[in-house]
């Protein structure tokens, strides 16, 4: 970043600090986030529309886990990340970009590496069960935003948050 740009960040009111999520298909992996020290998310079951899997990879330790939202372990975890974790990694790379994911997980990704396979291979990974409830309730909260009524009175504070993206 140029020096001039840095000063600008300091004295500007409108800067897009968090880049907008990049568009991706949501059908398979409706929810991905970098939060609670994990890359975590929810993966729809391929066979049962009522079932979802909660998958996560911890930042730093790279411990991974996958289970149903009722804490039943995923049958696909046989000493290696299952297809749900694959899908989670793929969608996270799409949504956030490889840089942000690698930085959050504290993984050294080779320059230009941007596939789920490369990301999972770079992990010093081991399996360690974590409870699904926290992630699942964060997913439900995420969905609950869509159930809230809209507004027809101005929200002047949103002038600090201009829509961007066409310049990407």
């Amino acid at each position: 970043m140029a020096d001039a740009e840095r000063t600008a960040w300091r004295r500007r009111s409108t800067v897009r600090v968090v880049p907008p999520a990049r568009p991706r298909k949501l059908a398979k992996v409706p929810f991905v986030e970098l939060a609670d020290g994990r890359l975590q998310g929810v993966v729809s079951s391929g066979s049962d529309v009522e079932r979802v899997y909660v998958s996560s990879i911890a930042s730093g330790t790279h411990a991974y886990h996958c289970s149903t939202n009722n804490n039943r372990p995923c049958g696909g975890l046989r000493g290696a990340p299952c297809k749900h974790l694959q899908a989670l990694a793929e969608e996270a790379l799409l949504q956030y970009g490889a840089d942000r994911v690698a930085r959050y997980l504290r993984v050294d990704l080779a320059a230009g590496a941007d596939t789920a396979g490369e990301l999972l291979a770079a992990l010093d990974a081991r399996h360690e069960p974590t409870p699904a409830a926290v992630v699942f309730s964060r997913f439900l909260r995420h969905l609950s935003y869509l159930e809230l009524p809209g507004s027809t009175a101005p929200l002047p504070e949103l002038h600090w948050f201009p829509a961007t993206g066409a310049a990407r």
Binding site: M1, R6, T7, W9, R10, R11, R12, S13, T14, V15, R16, V17, V18, P20, A21, R22, P23, R24, K25, L26, A27, P30, A35, D36, G37, S44, V49, E50, V52, Q95, F139, L140, R141, H142, L143, S144, Y145, L146, E147, L148, P149, G150, S151, T152, A153, P154, L155, P156, E157, L158, H159, W160, F161, P162, A163, T164, G165, A166, A167, R168
Partner: protein, 468 residues
Amino acid sequence: MLGTQLAVLRDGTPTGLTDALDLVAGLDDALVRGLARVGEDDAAALAALAGALAATPLGDRVTEAAGKVTAGSVLEEHLLALAGARCALLGAAHDALLGQLDTALGRARADWTPGAVEPAGAGSPARAGARAWLHEVAVTGWAGVDHELVDAAGAPIEAALAEPGLRRLAVLLDGFAAELRACVPVATMAQPPARRWADLWARGVLLAQDAAATTGASAVEEVSGRLLVLGVDVHEHDTAVQAQLHAILEPADGGAPRLVRCAVGAVKADTIVGPALWRLLDAHPVLLAALAQRRALTVTGLPLHGADLLWRDDRARLDEPADPFATARVVLPTAVAAASAPLDRHPVGIAEPVLVEGYTVGDDDGVTAFVLDGHPIAVAVDRLPSCGPLTPELVAASSACIGLLRWDDGRWLIQPLAVLATVKRRPVDAHTGDWAGGVTDPKVAKAEAKAGDAVAVLRERAGRLLRR
């Protein structure tokens, strides 16, 4: 706009603006380090702030706050005084800048009419929670914020979202907390966005007071007439979107045309981006159709306060097609603008519609600029929303533009809402609201169709999983 008007904007910096902003910057820097232990520089900045406001009605309170905070006792009332002082300075900056703009454009502006003051109701737990969190982050400082402190914003945000009257506070806190979360540890950032975060913090402190003035819009009159659309400005963060329409109201009673705006918004999931954003606003089909079809609207009995119409889709119907460029050429120069609510005044809120034509597209200090009779104005090409057809390339190929005049960090910018351009020797006109009824560009539409319907997928998941 004329080149000479741009020159007035560029050269006529209001007296005292720089001094006021330097005082603000002093407080901004103190908030980076936190108010728990105020060092020498920050103590001097707080004292200077108090000195500057000494002669105002806030004087005593700000002086007391600066003293107590420097001495290490930071109460919520002290933070309110500091946020108030900052708001007063930036409000004055806003007024001076807008005055400069009105002078340059010859724009008439009606004074603010206060609405009925509602009695301060019982205290709201959501506001109390927000105040407590804003207190803690100010004491800690942006540089000391950790994940635990950011996550503590979750409860007051959830509580504020549940109360429709606190939507402003809720979307502000949600956007602010998301930025802090993405930047933790802030201490490792080369330059934290100090002005911006102090802006958000100070506005949050004001909105979190149990006082009526910040409760929201109360209408002082009802208006009817024809609404001629100039364009739409889109605002967005991960969990909120707002479309703010700028238009001219030709009152049915034959009064002078008035420059007005209305805003509709929704909260959202971060994965809903691009043209899908319009889907979140589909409770307002008449408004969206007017944008997509470039039609005027006939409105009957719409509440208005200042320049802000409170939108009621059932009180509007579609009128004849109306070209926004014709409106901007013919009606905009005589339209009367209106002042905004005192507590909303901050340079970030300056968004004045203008028409510029006959310019060349050039480069001003490394930034895209429109050059009119030798006078450049920077173009905010980073403010083109992904939900519309405007692109930096289209702006660069343009010869006429309806835009919003904005001011940030010492300079004026124009934010395009619509352009007339020549692409492959054919004329093109593109407006930010063109896709309000669905994407009209076949290439983009195809990509959207391939990606699937994000709104529908998430609504299906919500329907299936939320009501168990």
